[in-house]
Symmetry: C2
Subunit: 104 residues, 2 copies
DNA sequence: TTATTATATGAACATATGCTCATATATGTT
DNA sequence: AACATATATGAGCATATGTTCATATAATAA
């Protein structure tokens, strides 16, 4: 019988990058609040800003961040852009974490 | 019948803090690698450093971070400290995310 | 076209983050 | 006690991050 050393299987670079990026998106209170709100209902930018008491600019910047990671998407209605969530996996991670935070 | 406005239920400050802290812990490649390794097997500090090609100091700093959040724990054996994971919820989040990253 | 409304963007700034170096501390050994 | 080994810690530094301000862009209305 050969040695059973069971060498540790490293995480590959790409997986590590995707995973860290995903969690980074969820690591900021403002982005969490935006995602949580969009999880409840589709919203346009100014609705988000008002509901969460944030500057329009702040919301817009964070939406760009979330859109780059394909965590949110939008549809246009005239000059208004309605944003909604676009990654159910990530929303599941968020909701699980919220649930744990409340019950631990 | 009264209006059914369904006002949005805000996340409370404490939940928001815990959730963002948790995801912040998982947002850094080095911490992800350490947690993933500890998920496979208990390790002492120098084993982690060698296995992941990190400076002892870097590992020690990150372990302190993870320990403060109670994501890892340790037992002492002489001058050697053996670290292991201490939050199954968070490890579940990590493994789910790795799985999604690989299959999407 | 001009004006209006909604959203996006870039620059500037303050703060946070992660790494490395040097050194401290703690336990065990001789 | 003196020494060796394992780990922890603080300072310094470079980079990343999040917000705000001012302004640009885009669609629509008059």
């Amino acid at each position: 019988m050969t040695d059973q050393q069971n060498k540790y299987e490293h995480l590959d670079e790409e997986t590590l990058f995707i995973v860290s990026q995903t969690f980074k998106a969820l690591s900021d209170p403002t982005r969490i609040r935006i995602l949580h709100l969009l999880g409840e209902k589709e919203c346009n930018v100014s609705e988000i800003a008002e509901e969460l008491s944030l500057m329009q600019s702040t919301v817009s910047h964070q939406l760009r961040f979330l859109k780059n990671l394909r965590l949110v998407k939008f549809r246009r209605a005239g000059t208004t852009l309605f944003y909604s969530v676009d990654d159910e996996h990530v929303m599941t991670l968020l909701h699980q974490s919220i649930h744990h935070a409340r019950h631990d």
